[in-house]
Symmetry: C2
Subunit: 125 residues, 2 copies
């Protein structure tokens, strides 16, 4: 069954990528999607997939905390556990048109990931 | 007019604190509110206010990006500009009972704040 309702599209995308099925997830994403992520704007589905796929591969658990939508947009709030960070909640705000995600804003805390990856270190106090 | 609808309570809280009126904001927060923030759990309205008030004082701009609610909860997504960080989007998920916020989960990226405050530094690559 094909749906074009933004919340259903967002949930289908979310369930697919969190289950590791990036092909199914990105069948719901417009090729020219824009993504505002904490590090800046990612342009296009390939860039978004390159951002999401490595994280999806390390996911050990995910829990949907809230899901809302209207005629043009949807919001999901969810928690994740991954090998790197045991709890990393995130919120994604989607714009959906004709059954495809055309814009997404991803909000999460980069700090624990940056520490684990050694990109930053705590300053001695 | 008094409202008990979660989305209206959340919006009233948001508009109050972003306008710097912490007293009005916290009149909508239950004394024993629990807040899950990126750094961990804050217990009680006093702890939440101590967390929010310094940030509210430095706000220079805020923009509401999305607002949804149902009978028990609400989600806001918003961007902020502050003296420390020019763009810091956040998402807040509220549980509301009897017109008061009884739980809130705040999601935002701590990394730019931690860098500006000198709490962490970039690792030379």
């Amino acid at each position: 069954m094909t749906t074009t309702r933004p919340l259903e599209v967002a949930l289908a995308y979310h369930h697919a990528w969190t289950a590791g099925d990036l092909d199914a997830a990105f069948s719901l994403v417009a090729p020219d999607v824009t993504c505002d992520a904490p590090a800046g704007r990612l342009g296009g589905a390939d860039a978004l997939r390159a951002f999401m796929e490595p994280f999806a591969r390390t996911l050990t658990h995910t829990e949907l905390l809230a899901a809302f939508g209207d005629d043009a947009s949807a919001v999901l709030v969810y928690d994740t556990a991954s090998r790197a960070v045991p709890s990393a909640p995130a919120s994604e705000l989607y714009e959906v048109a004709a059954g495809r995600i055309v814009a997404v804003r991803i909000i999460f805390d980069r700090l624990p990931f940056a520490l684990v990856r050694g990109e930053v270190s705590r300053t001695p106090s």
